[in-house]
């Protein structure tokens, strides 16, 4: 029997990475709340995690000009938010909605951190063998 960190932590590190990306995206939405023509964007983390298949064969780049395949799986998943009430200057950021999403995302990030911490504690316990 051996201890595998990858198996022990499961999807949580990936989830943490995606949450961090989403924090960035929502921060951009909030920063551009007064930018004319800016369209608010978001992506569905659950869907990306469902599609994350470890046995998938990664796209290869055979020439230096080729764009490197993304490792985070966000590409192609970014979507524009449909505003409840669009403003005249073409901006679709609604601050209250973005704030709520940002708070939710931060909380979920902390939850994921807590889970990873629990896993690490279990591993430590197993290593000590007490």
């Amino acid at each position: 029997m051996k201890i595998s960190f990858d198996n022990a932590l499961g999807l949580f590190p990936k989830s943490l990475e995606l949450r961090a990306k989403r924090t960035e995206l929502l921060a951009s939405n909030l920063a551009n709340a007064d930018t004319p023509g800016y369209k608010a964007r978001d992506f569905d983390i659950d869907r990306i995690l469902q599609e994350a298949n470890p046995r998938q064969i990664p796209l290869q780049t055979t020439r230096p000009e080729h764009l490197a395949p993304s490792t985070d799986g966000i590409e192609g998943q970014l979507a524009y938010r449909v505003p409840q009430q669009a403003s005249l200057d073409g901006n679709t950021v609604e601050e209250h909605i973005e704030q709520a999403k940002f708070a939710e995302n931060a909380l979920r990030y902390q939850t994921t951190l807590r889970f990873i911490n629990g896993k690490i504690s279990s591993l430590m316990l197993a290593l000590r063998g007490e």
């Binding site: 951009s28 909030l30 920063a31 930018t35 023509g37 966000i74 902390q110």
Partner: protein, 139 residues
């Protein structure tokens, strides 16, 4: 939380709102600056914001988008002309020119700018807190 881009994004947002606040302050301060010709009269100013994309790829797939200030535009609204022959700034015809500053509009602008600034600070604080918690991982 491996990237520090979020601090740049929130920082650029705060910078943009601060510029807007400064411009609003000069509009309000100069609301009563009269002069004797149209050219010399203060005109109401507004900053122009734009999302900062590095390239086309960034526009589609980038997650961190900063705010750019493209420039400051002067209002095209007509100036107020007033007949005041005894005013020290009056021209030969006895007219003075008042700026086209709309103080009500500028006060509303000031409140909006300060709220947006607060929003960005909140984002910054949350991101900092999340990063510190990530650093303490496994302890």
């Amino acid at each position: 939380m491996a990237s520090f881009k979020i601090f740049e994004v929130a920082g650029s947002g705060m910078n943009a709102q601060m510029v807007r606040l400064n411009i609003t302050a000069s509009n309000l301060a100069n609301a009563d600056s009269v002069s004797s010709s149209i050219e010399q009269t203060y005109k109401s100013r507004q900053p122009v914001f734009a999302a900062h994309f590095q390239n086309a790829f960034d526009r589609l797939h980038g997650t961190a988008t900063k705010v750019n200030i493209l420039g400051v535009v002067e209002s095209k609204a007509p100036l107020q002309m007033e007949y005041a022959p005894h005013h020290p700034m009056a021209n030969e015809q006895g007219y003075i020119f008042k700026p086209n500053v709309n103080t009500v509009e500028d006060l509303a602008n000031m409140i909006a700018a300060s709220r947006s600034y607060q929003n960005n600070i909140e984002v910054l604080n949350t991101a900092k807190e999340l990063m510190l918690q990530t650093l303490r991982l496994g302890q």
